[in-house]
Every structure is written in C-alpha cells, then in structure tokens.
C-alpha cells in the first residue's frame, strides 16, 4: 500500500464522497483509490467529522415511544436466524483489489467477461445498474499501446495493478485520474507487466486514429 501516490481525487470530490452525494460510479472509483491511499483515507476521516458534527448539532426530532421496542424485536428476530459471515476468499482474480471492486467481480448474477478491444487492450464491463456510466475494467498488456482516443464525457480511472503512462505522466497502483471531455490521450502499458485499471465512463469515447472507426462499436458506452 503506497502512501505516496501523486494522483488523487480533488478535495471537493472527497467531500461529496464523505457526504454520500457523489454518484455511484465515481464513488466506486474513489473507494478504489482510498484502498491504496492512506492520505485520502485520513482526510476522509476528518471530513466525516463535519457530517457527524452537523448531525449532532441538529434539533433532535420526536421519537415514537414504541420505536425502541420495535427495534429490539427486529434485532432478536435477526439474531435467531443469524448467518455466519463467509470467509474472505483468496480468489487470485481479486488479489489486492479494493473490496468494492472484488464484490463487483465476484457478482454471482453477472460475472464480467474479458473481451478483446484492440490488440493490446481487453475490457470487462460490470453490471452496476447505472444508466449514465459504464463501469469497467481495462487490461493493457505489457508495453501495449491503446488506440488514441478522446472523450465525449468524463472518465474516471484508477490503476488497480501494474502501471501505465501517457504523454504527461506515469500512473501507478492506486493513482486516480479524471479525463475531461475533449481530452485526447494514448495510454501505454508499462513494459514490466500487464496493467489493470478500473474506469467509470460517462459517455462514449471517440477514436481519433484514422482506422479508429472500426473500433467504434466496441467502445460504445454499454451501461448495464
């Protein structure tokens, strides 16, 4: 767990995450970043205290006299049918991954399947019920070049394993990036191994490579 990451979500985004007002898809990406980033975890702890303080300062509301007993009844019922929590698995597919991503991968109703996107990139899309975002994993093979593309919408990316680079920087495990609409980039996988990234994509991306149109149907946003 490196604590010296260079690419973090901005503070306003952490505030929205702490308040629970950030949309689901970017929240999955922020939570993935937090898994790797002690600095942001520690800031989040402080931000949570804002919510906590505001909650305790509020005028207390009237509570029905019976509510406590109803809660205790439900607790007793639940304990009568208590299930043992399942053992944490050691599934190699999710080794070192954040819990939210592991759960998406192991979703028994929808196992994401790797599909070839280009010679060096595979994609596995998650079923998250999000209408506006496609949440997916991208796998870039060692030294692989992705097709040059730009974005119609925002794209959040978190490196989960390995590293990749583009024109401006090298991105390592845990790094969090946002691509703005109109950004053109061409990520390249590191030479020393494959790179797996989590991404939440708001709208279709458009290939700018002359032959790119061939790829277009595959890169179409495909919310599930």
């Amino acid at each position: 767990m490196s604590k010296h990451l260079s690419h973090h979500p901005d503070k306003e985004m952490l505030v929205e995450f702490s308040a629970g007002t950030l949309a689901t898809a970017p929240s999955i990406c922020v939570s993935a970043h937090l898994h790797f980033c002690q600095q942001c975890r520690s800031e989040l702890l402080s931000l949570d205290q804002i919510g906590s303080q505001l909650m305790t300062e509020a005028e207390p509301a009237e509570i029905d006299d019976n509510l406590f007993n109803r809660v205790m009844d439900k607790i007793d019922q639940a304990e009568a049918t208590e299930q043992q929590p399942s053992e944490p698995s050691t599934d190699p597919r999710v080794a070192g991954f954040p819990l939210s991503v592991s759960k998406l991968i192991k979703n028994k109703f929808h196992t994401p399947i790797w599909k070839r996107l280009s010679a060096s990139v595979d994609v596995a899309r998650f079923k998250t019920g999000q209408k506006d975002f496609e949440v997916a994993l991208h796998r870039i093979c060692a030294g692989g070049k992705t097709p040059k593309h730009d974005h119609h919408g925002l794209e959040y990316t978190v490196v989960l394993r390995g590293s990749f680079s583009d024109e401006s920087a090298v991105y390592k495990e845990g790094d969090f990036l946002i691509r703005q609409p109109g950004d053109v980039h061409q990520p390249m996988g590191a030479q020393n191994g494959e790179c797996i990234c989590l991404s939440a994509l708001e709208a279709p991306i458009r290939l700018t490579n002359p032959l790119g149109f061939l790829m277009k149907p595959l890169l179409r946003i495909n919310p599930m």
């Binding site: 308040a19 402080s46 305790t56 509301a61």
Partner: protein, 220 residues
C-alpha cells in the same frame, strides 16, 4: 464475555477498564464511545438503550433533513430503525481508535440513507452496499488519537464560526444530501463558486491535508 444487562451507569469503571484493555496507550472516554464499546463487547442492552435515546432523535432529524430525490418523510423512521439495528449488529467491529462513536454512527447513517435510496431507484443490479465503499484496510500507521481529537475539536469550533455562505453549502451537502452541482443549481450560483466555498470552509477548518503530510507537501 457474554454478559447481558449490565447496568452501565453504575458500572462505568468496569467499562473503562475494558476500553483500556482494548486500547492500552490512549483511550477515548466520552460516554457514547464507552456505551458503544459495551454494546460491542457484551451485547449490553442497557447501554444500547442509552445510545438509542441519545441518537435516535438525532438520526430522525438527519433523515428529515434529506432532500434527496425520491426521499419522503415516511422513510425517516425506517432509517432510524435500520441504523440502530446496524449499530447493534456491527458494534463488535467498532474500533474506538479509529473514530468516535458519534462519527461512526454518522457514517452508518449516511451509508444506510444511500442504500435505502439506491434500493428505491433503478440500481438493483448493484451488488454493493454503501459500506463496501468505505471498507478500509487496517492502517499501518493509524492517525493517532491525539491528532483525531485535535481535528474533532477544530471541526467543532470552526464549524460554528464559518461564514454563513460556507456553512449553508456544507449543510446542503451533508444534511440535505445535495451534490455540488445540485447545490449550485438550487442557489443560482456557478458550480465554481460552490466548490470554492467548500474549499474555503475546509481551509478554515484546517482539515485539508492530514498533519503528517503537511511537511512533505511543503517540500514539493
């Protein structure tokens, strides 16, 4: 250690010693934290009853503050129930070294509120609960209790002194559950203004960067 119905009021010293066992170097000693620890360690129903009578009215007020799309007043009591049941069930996993009981219960409430909204909207495919997003690995170097307390005090003191416009945005975001974009629309302010008010508030509260990283950043 499965004892029931310990009278926490008469028996605070015992609870304190239990906290001390959990946490030998430093300890939190506010009454809510002691009570929550007693619920977690001993399934102490009287301690839980005291937590309930303090937090249920605050939780209901928090629920009533929600202006989320799809939220309606009838859900407020459901939220109180759901949160208090979770508090009982998860108390054993509560770690007083990481957060005060109040902050911990706030995070349970926030997560429950989002889960309730998500269940109501078209996201039934999401195999995640909101608390999964907050799953944190055990820290190699946890933020010390002293530092946490300093932040808690800073938040508490400075929140009351924020300019009205900054306070208003934080309340919209944390209590009403508005995103920055929604707040900007509602207040008729540019998004950039909303974001800069949030940032100014954070600067004033001095919680932008955790203290242990400030030195590092100043060398950059």
């Amino acid at each position: 250690m499965l004892r029931k119905n310990i009278d926490i009021v008469d028996d605070k010293a015992q609870v304190k010693s239990r906290v001390a066992v959990l946490n030998t170097s430093e300890k939190r000693s506010d009454q809510w934290t002691l009570l929550l620890v007693a619920v977690g360690a001993d399934r102490d129903r009287q301690a839980f009853a005291q937590l309930f009578s303090h937090f249920a009215p605050l939780l209901k007020s928090f629920a009533q503050a929600s202006r989320h799309e799809g939220w309606f007043p009838g859900l407020s009591e459901d939220l109180v129930q759901e949160v208090m049941i979770k508090v009982w069930q998860k108390a054993a996993g509560y770690n007083p070294e990481k957060a005060s009981a109040t902050t911990w219960i706030y995070t349970v409430a926030r997560n429950c509120r989002i889960d309730m909204l998500r269940r109501k909207s078209n996201t039934q495919h999401l195999p995640l609960e909101n608390e999964d997003f907050w799953h944190e690995p055990d820290e190699e170097t946890p933020v010390s209790l002293l530092r946490q307390k300093r932040t808690e005090d800073k938040v508490q003191d400075s929140l009351a002194q924020l300019p009205r416009e900054q306070d208003q945005i934080l309340r919209k975001v944390y209590l009403e559950g508005k995103s920055h974009a929604e707040a900007s629309e509602e207040l008729g302010l540019p998004l950039g203004t909303v974001k800069s008010r949030v940032r100014l508030a954070l600067q004033k509260m001095q919680i932008l960067v955790a203290p242990e990283y400030q030195d590092e950043l100043s060398h950059e």
